[in-house]
């Protein structure tokens, strides 16, 4: 009798210990995973801030070996290519997403969804290779346009899928009410459904823009790079990401420092994108149920 009680006590004890160990391991895993993040943010901020001055934003890069200079052209370059990419990616992505959610419950729709997922998994360098053959070679020119197109292609799948998902969430009753009032389907979708889903769609767009802003590989052989100020889409153009890459592996300490600053500015830019969209979509659009 006592034996039985002891055995079951031991059994319980063992279970409790395993429980404790495993749960602590899980907490440990979470802590370990956050450590690199903290390190990266810490280094980027501390090293980046030390050289963050007004020069960085208004000066051009200096010749190899001379200290000083800035990355004004790179900041503008990144913004311009995001603009070009956005003007391709947003309309295409949103329209495709609208089609998928409103008309796409058929085979064609499923195929498109699958291909959108495929596209989002394609490494960005492969996109760069394709845009090189399709745009750079025929144009006989590296250009901001080619870089922008590559970024746009990268943005499309994210925007398509989020638009699709966000519009799906809008309750069917809303559409039915509008239709019963005599509003044609297209107007319903645009004026009412879209307005309701706008916040979610904007998050998708912002995600896509952030991802594109951080891309380097596809720009290496489309936009190439530019040591001078340029806003023309038909010419090569500088970008923050490519500069970080070039300056990081350089032996010049001054360049290394500028790379950290560029990384900081890039991360701040990505955060600003987030705030910008939050402001735009401040919500007077939510129709109450």
């Amino acid at each position: 009798m006592e034996n039985g009680a002891m055995k079951s006590n031991l059994y319980l004890y063992k279970k409790k210990i395993i429980n404790l160990i495993m749960l602590s391991l899980s907490v440990l895993a979470a802590v370990i995973s956050i450590i690199p993040l903290i390190f990266i943010i810490y280094y980027t901020v501390s090293k980046g801030i030390s050289h963050l001055n007004i020069d960085f934003f208004i000066e051009m890069p200096k010749p190899v070996g001379e200290p000083g200079g800035g990355m004004a052209n790179a900041i503008v370059g990144t913004l311009i290519m995001l603009g070009i990419g956005g003007s391709i990616g947003i309309p295409v992505g949103m329209s495709a997403g609208i089609y998928l959610s409103e008309f796409g419950k058929n085979k064609f729709g499923n195929v498109v969804r699958f291909f959108a997922d495929v596209l989002s998994g394609v490494p960005s360098i492969v996109v760069g290779v394709v845009v090189y053959s399709l745009v750079v070679i025929p144009m006989k020119q590296f250009s901001a346009l080619a870089g922008g197109i590559a970024l746009g292609i990268i943005m499309i799948p994210t925007i398509t899928r989020t638009t699709d998902e966000m519009i799906k969430i809008v309750p069917q009753s809303l559409r039915e009410t509008a239709l019963s009032l005599g509003i044609p389907k297209w107007k319903t979708t645009v004026s009412i459904v879209l307005k309701t889903a706008w916040k979610g769609i904007a998050t998708g767009i912002l995600l896509a823009l952030s991802r594109a802003a951080g891309e380097t590989a596809p720009l290496l052989f489309t936009a190439l790079g530019n040591r001078f100020w340029s806003t023309s889409i038909g010419q090569p153009i500088a970008s923050l990401t490519v500069y970080i890459y070039d300056y990081a592996k350089a032996p010049f300490e001054d360049w290394n420092n500028q790379a950290w600053t560029a990384a900081l500015v890039l991360i701040i830019l990505i955060s600003i994108l987030s705030l910008l969209f939050k402001i735009i979509t401040r919500s007077r659009y939510n129709i109450k149920q």
Binding site: S33, W186, G214
Partner: protein
């Protein structure tokens, strides 16, 4: 007002011209997505053709990447890609599951929200910034602390031999595991959360410890977590900048983690603008094609696994 039911199941009002246009135009853009992928595949195939014709399947198994003699064999490069990604998965998956469990089961809600946010922040950091940090923080640490330690204590193993460059396979594996962790962790967390609570409560009612109830949930979502891991694998395979900046850029098949290595993505990034002969460029496009195919297969399998999770729980509800 006439109401019609479309073959899609959606309802529309009449033969309004606007409606027809709307459907056609948005449909066109949807088709653009399709066309884009097909166009990419076609372009790469066309570009890779000379290389495919010259080397055939031998491209994948021969070891010489020799631009001087125009002999291009991708085996060491494919080896580098596979080994770096697999090892990164090995490190990342257990950690991710730990994080996912922590976020969905253990953390109180005031902690869970900021912690989840932090994990997603990790995913948003650009690859090149990871690479920058890799060059100036991770690599010196590996060169000065990790490699000597491993050499002294485990140097008899073939994995820890060779001069301490700092750069090399080990650095690439570590950086990749940090980069893919957020993806695997957030998807796993979402999957675990989607399991209805009755499962856990039933287990607890029967006297299971918290960990045992979690184990039961994990068993249910096995394939979903597998899918999440595959998505992570897909990202690791295609990762370019961070890897190029720390991996040492030499095509080499070696057991040692200390040796430099090369992945398909870094080979293309390093050599594409300068491949001087047509065959060289064609071989690089051939690599891009192989990379493209591999990521499609991995991602397709991954999506299937994750979608199957959705369907499973839909029926239970």
């Amino acid at each position: 007002m006439k109401f019609f039911k479309n073959k899609n199941g959606s309802i529309y009002t009449s033969n309004n011209l606007g409606d027809i246009f709307f459907e056609k135009i948005t449909g066109f853009f949807a088709a653009v997505v399709l066309i884009l992928v097909i166009l990419m595949a076609y372009e790469m195939y066309a570009g890779a053709k000379p290389s495919i014709e010259k080397f055939g399947w031998g491209f994948l198994v021969s070891s010489a990447w020799d631009p001087v003699r125009e002999m291009f064999g991708a085996l060491p490069i494919i080896y580098g890609t596979i080994v770096s990604s697999m090892l990164a998965l090995l490190i990342s998956v257990p950690l991710s599951i730990g994080v996912a469990v922590f976020l969905s089961e253990i953390a109180p809600s005031w902690l869970e929200k900021p912690a989840s946010y932090l994990v997603e922040l990790l995913a948003g950091i650009p690859s090149v910034v990871y690479g920058l940090w890799g060059i100036f923080v991770l690599v010196p640490w590996i060169r000065n602390d990790v490699q000597p330690f491993l050499s002294q204590n485990f140097g008899f193993l073939p994995f820890f031999q060779g001069p301490p460059y700092g750069f090399g396979l080990l650095a690439a594996v570590l950086i990749l595991s940090i980069m893919i962790l957020p993806i695997i962790a957030s998807i796993s967390r979402d999957i675990i959360r989607s399991v209805p609570h009755d499962q856990r409560e039933a287990a607890l009612a029967l006297g299971a410890t918290k960990w045992e109830s979690i184990l039961i949930v994990l068993k249910e979502v096995k394939s979903g977590i597998l899918g999440a891991s595959m998505l992570g694998l897909g990202r690791a395979v295609g990762e370019t900048m961070a890897v190029t900046m720390v991996i040492g850029n030499r095509p080499l098949i070696s057991a040692s983690l200390f040796d430099p290595s090369y992945t398909m993505a870094s080979a293309i990034a390093n050599e594409f603008t300068e491949a001087t002969s047509d065959m060289y460029i064609s071989s690089l496009i051939h690599l891009a094609l192989v990379l493209f195919v591999i990521t499609i297969i991995i991602n397709a399998l991954a999506r299937l696994l994750v979608w199957s999770m959705d369907r499973k729980w839909k029926t239970v509800r």
